[in-house]
Symmetry: C2
Subunit: 276 residues, 2 copies
């Protein structure tokens, strides 16, 4: 999916919500957990219920890999299901990959050719040749970790260089020389609040993928206030707050209600901060 299509979907749906499919077999409703293919059935129900209110889905690979082969099958089925039934959804493989060029090429092939997702999250530590192999695909995106939502983000990402520039700023400034805003987004945690202003100083026109609203405590209002640009430029992710909102038989309905609530807030924020 290209930049223009993504912006068009956001405007049409009045939502910049991404639903995180962090599906943990230990947390899904008990009536489903014992069934065969439980993970995929859970995802399918969540997707069918939430699709009207979101523009993207983000399965985190860790949750699938932790189940080995069975998990990979569920992951692939989930991607295929979204692709076939909701072609206007942007799919993010939250994989946080990044390896030497030769190896990153294998990952790119895996995610963009074999699985056909729209984007993959990539860790920046290994530098340019670990990232650029993901850039040769039309309409596909790299989403590079910049300033993450977790406590440990302060350990290295805020280290100032000799000129007072922090590592996350160096990452963004350097990565912007590798790719256009039509190919690259940055991960910025919702928990970072006012630091969104500093992000926009170095990434004025990139989309930001924003985890950390909900369970992790970030504020949607602050994210929009400091991070929104005229094309919106935000994909805000919620995982646990939506998919585990109920653990009973009504889990899909309750997930839809939570997604609808966030979408309604987003509609108002689009109006206030982007005039959309």
């Amino acid at each position: 999916m290209n930049y223009a299509q993504l912006v068009e979907n956001i405007k049409r749906k009045r939502s910049f919500l991404c639903v995180g499919l962090d599906t943990d077999v230990k947390k899904i409703p008990s009536h489903l957990a014992s069934e065969e293919d439980a993970i995929f059935k859970f995802n399918k129900a969540i997707i069918d219920a939430t699709a009207p209110y979101c523009v993207a889905y983000k399965p985190n690979l860790a949750f699938y890999e932790s189940l080995g082969v069975e998990g990979w099958i569920a992951f692939e089925k989930t991607i295929r299901y979204i692709r076939e039934n909701y072609p206007d959804q942007f799919i993010i493989a939250d994989a946080k990959r990044g390896d030497i060029g030769n190896t990153s090429k294998m990952y790119a092939r895996s995610f963009f050719e074999h699985l056909d997702v729209d984007s993959i999250t990539v860790a920046p530590y290994m530098g340019e040749d670990s990232v650029t192999p993901f850039l040769g695909y039309e309409g596909k995106w790299v989403i590079l970790l910049a300033l993450t939502s977790n406590k440990g983000s302060h350990d290295f990402q805020l280290i100032k260089d000799e000129n007072g520039r922090r590592l996350f700023e160096n990452v963004i400034l350097t990565a912007r020389t590798w790719a256009t805003p039509e190919q690259m987004m940055f991960v910025v945690g919702a928990t970072q609040g006012q630091l969104f202003e500093d992000i926009r100083a170095v990434a004025p026109d990139n989309f930001l993928l924003v985890p950390g609203v909900g369970a992790q405590g970030g504020s949607l209002e602050e994210v929009a206030k400091y991070g929104m640009i005229k094309d919106c430029g935000l994909l805000v992710n919620s995982s646990r707050g939506i998919i585990y909102a109920s653990q009973s038989e009504d889990f899909a309905e309750v997930a839809a209600a939570e997604a609808a609530k966030l979408a309604a807030e987003m509609s108002a924020l689009l109006n206030t901060y982007a005039g959309i």
Copy 2:
């Protein structure tokens, strides 16, 4: 496998060689490639041939994931085969993972409980809570990226902070407060030559996992000269230089000869630089 056992294996075998199982279906001998279960059959032949000359195996997950479900099956079979037939081999899942604590926990479960490898490579960018979930397992190790072998390693890893300390030094110094040298190694590329002296200034007693000898051009002699400590403290990896040394029916024999050659060099270096 714990620290003492690893050192004991190195002394007994007079080798600190790690064989990288970066198995690419496009590069394995044609007589095998068309067979069912080709990846595992190739790995099995390589392992049986090289086991006398090495102390560790390092499959890089990218090569397996690029094949989807089928690749995961081959990966799991390979790990199981090593575990059952060569229990004195140290197994490294080269996965370069690293995510928020909640998610890193899933990865730890996947690699240490489900698969039972000895260690996993982890990217440091997200900081403490992305790394520590891997540390709660007896005899299991985190191998943290510090100074990698690729060209892009210069993009961020060498950035100096306000006190002149480079990022890879900050990563090592901080990570050493999270884990003992019995739980944590660092990845340092063989291509970094004299920088091994600087690594040893901040990590005097950690094992280093050293990729980049062979195809990437690093010098084994330099690595030993600047990086070896009294317990050896090195695992030097070679992948392509061993597993693709021949693409004919004799591939396993030729791989064994290449591994034996490296082991002989290593034996001499152990004598010269560690007095072992």
